[in-house]
């Protein structure tokens, strides 16, 4: 009978070890769905998850374990993290839940909102007060001295950071859709959520593929704000990349970063479509009213044929909305 007791103990020990093994695998999985879970086990079996080094804005950032106390300082960053199912690691976000994509809003239940004001960027104290180990930002300005603070300084106090790639150059380097994919993959590696990341990238790429393709390279004026003294987003901005991918031609390729343009050049270049990048204070209605009433541009093709398309300024920040934004733009370019 001693053999039975020993074998029971061995079986019990084996069970415990097996359970521990299984739960360890399951614990590293924060994705959704069983397929993801299986894939995760395969991944962790294939390579060591940590330490992970991520190249971000020409510097290396190393993570020795999945971040557990994450602050997101911008809405696009929050949306990325929520779309990757990382809501449980969030200890603070900037921006009211109501401004997020509707499908992501339920995930905000119980998440601490540091401040609802998204502009100007949140300050150092408010962020450090929640004791984060990672700050994920959607804008370069979030790391200014008057905002969260320099990334080197954050690292010195043990806070890691990540900035969406498309905003690293801040107008000097073109931002593209590939930067958004890279962000998702990077976050997937940082959080050991590679399957979720791959799924999100796949979803975005599917959206992009579903966008209709415009023929004839329609000329597009990217109209960002202003009336008699208008501004455009700039050829290095993400929205310019989206326009190009949708088959359009930016009428101001030489204006590289956000700047004011002269209506006379717009009249001369005669865009076929005007893409309005709307903001809270520059809604579509205001833009359309101005475009209709400003006589010097009455003869412009886009104005005559009333081909005005709009995307929100948040839709064209690097993030999960970019796929849908591209679809909207492409539909607008085709709709001629």
């Amino acid at each position: 009978m001693r053999a039975t007791a020993r074998s029971r103990r061995t079986a019990g020990a084996f069970l415990v070890v097996a359970l521990a093994f299984v739960s360890a695998c399951g614990g590293s999985e924060r994705g959704e769905g069983t397929t993801a879970r299986v894939a995760g086990q395969a991944a962790s079996a294939g390579e060591a998850a940590y330490p992970v080094t991520v190249r971000n804005c020409d510097a290396d950032y190393t993570f020795t374990k999945p971040p557990e106390r994450v602050v997101s300082s911008s809405v696009p960053a929050t949306e990325l993290l929520l779309a990757l199912g990382l809501e449980r690691s969030l200890v603070g976000v900037v921006g009211a839940p109501g401004v997020l994509l509707p499908e992501l809003q339920p995930k905000m239940a119980g998440v601490n909102v540091i401040t609802e004001r998204t502009f100007p960027p949140v300050g150092k104290e408010a962020v450090l007060a929640v004791n984060p180990d990672l700050v994920v930002a959607g804008y370069g300005e979030d790391f200014a001295e008057t905002a969260v603070g320099d990334r080197g300084a954050l690292r010195a106090v043990g806070v890691n950071s990540y900035l969406v790639q498309g905003r690293c150059g801040d107008g000097r380097v073109p931002a593209t859709l590939d930067d958004t994919y890279a962000d998702i993959e990077n976050l997937g590696r940082i959080f050991d959520a590679r399957p979720a990341a791959a799924a999100l990238v796949a979803r975005l790429k599917a959206e992009v593929a579903s966008a209709p393709s415009a023929t004839g390279r329609p000329k597009v004026l990217i109209y960002a704000a202003g009336k008699e003294q208008p501004s455009t987003q700039g050829a290095t901005s993400l929205v310019a990349d989206l326009v190009a991918r949708a088959g359009g031609q930016n009428v101001f390729p030489e204006i590289t970063s956000y700047g004011r343009f002269n209506w006379e050049a717009a009249v001369e270049r005669n865009p076929d479509v005007i893409l309005v990048v709307t903001t809270g204070s520059f809604p579509l209605a205001a833009a359309e009213e101005f475009l209709a009433s400003y006589e010097p541009i009455a003869g412009v093709s886009a104005v005559r044929n009333k081909r005005v398309v709009s995307v929100g300024v948040n839709d064209v920040q690097p993030g999960v909305r970019n796929g849908q934004a591209l679809v909207t733009i492409a539909r607008g370019l085709v709709g001629g």
Partner: protein, 334 residues
């Protein structure tokens, strides 16, 4: 230099500058075509088309506005320097432009869905209200001393600038912040013909008044005491001057933002040419200001075409070295 030939020369230079400036823009149109088109459109039998639109509706009002704003700023600079008897003064010390800026920024940041006229109207309202407050606060015992006027004006400007900055910072997004900052730097891009009306009327009225009272302005430079002995009602004249300068500055800043240094620089350029006698200085400074701003505006639309450079940047780039030189020269003399 005798006055009549100089004025004629400057007037010719202004007309020539405006003619040339209408021909210069990010869209390259041959000069002959520019003027054929413009004259045809003005005569009513133009063919239309994008180039006609560019020349007549975009460039022509813009060049006109640049001339009016330049002249208006220079003339108000002359008046303010006589008013406070300080050659380093510019009309912004009255606080009026800070009031206009506050009105404009409030509309830009807080009320973007209004009609297109609301920015100039709000700016002018801000200028007017600020003028009234400064005027009432600067009077003491019924008298308006230059020192008190400057102090009150500077204090009001500081207060309004703080309020304006606060509103700017409250911008809900980066785009609006930039719109606000661009407005503050000033410019005449996108000028509409309707914007020309108020500043032109104000310029004509105020210049006329200053010319008629040139002798009185001259007497002020001898000091309040002496001016009084020459029969000048110093206090009443000062009150009228303050009101007129505020009116002109308000109209100008309402449509073009707070363009810096023109009001400070051009009166001095005028003095270097014809001396301080206001009978000569007022028209000369006005014409110089008009020519100057027409060309500065060409720079603003050409230097980084097709993007626009804020005109205040171009004038400041020229104005700052001039100001330092002027300071050095004044100190060398004193």
């Amino acid at each position: 230099m005798p006055l009549a030939p100089l004025l004629t020369g400057l007037a010719v230079a202004l007309v020539a500058s405006m003619v040339m400036a209408v021909g210069i823009g990010p869209v390259a149109i041959p000069f002959g075509e520019v003027w054929r088109t413009l004259l045809a459109e003005l005569a009513g039998d133009g063919a239309g088309g994008p180039r006609a639109v560019i020349v007549t509706q975009i460039r022509f009002p813009r060049v006109l506005l640049a001339a009016v704003v330049g002249a208006g700023l220079a003339v108000s600079g002359v008046a303010v320097q006589a008013l406070v008897r300080n050659p380093l003064a510019d009309p912004y010390i009255l606080g009026v432009s800070a009031g206009a800026a506050f009105g404009a920024i409030a509309v830009i940041v807080l009320g973007g869905a209004f009609g297109s006229l609301s920015i100039p109207v709000a700016a002018f309202a801000g200028a007017l209200l600020t003028f009234l407050v400064v005027f009432l606060l600067a009077r003491r015992g019924g008298r308006l001393s230059p020192l008190r006027l400057i102090l009150v004006g500077v204090a009001m400007a500081a207060l309004l600038n703080a309020a304006t900055n606060f509103v700017v910072i409250s911008s809900p997004d980066n785009a609006q912040l930039r719109s606000a900052l661009f407005w503050l730097l000033g410019g005449v891009a996108g000028a509409r013909f309707s914007w020309l009306v108020a500043p032109t009327l104000a310029l004509v009225c105020v210049s006329g008044y200053l010319l008629a009272h040139a002798r009185t302005l001259n007497c002020l430079s001898l000091g309040d005491e002496t001016a009084t002995t020459l029969g000048v009602d110093v206090d009443r004249f000062r009150r009228a001057l303050v009101a007129l300068v505020a009116l002109l500055v308000g109209c100008v800043v309402a449509v073009s933002g707070a363009i810096g240094f023109v009001a400070l620089m051009l009166p001095h350029a005028g003095r270097l040419l014809v001396g301080p006698n206001h009978r000569r200085l007022v028209p000369v400074a006005g014409l110089l200001g008009a020519v100057f701003l027409v060309w500065v505006d060409v720079g603003a639309r050409m230097l980084i075409r097709p993007a626009e450079l804020p005109i205040g940047v171009v004038t400041a780039a020229l104005g700052a070295p001039f100001f330092l030189w002027l300071l050095g020269r004044r100190e060398a003399r004193a």
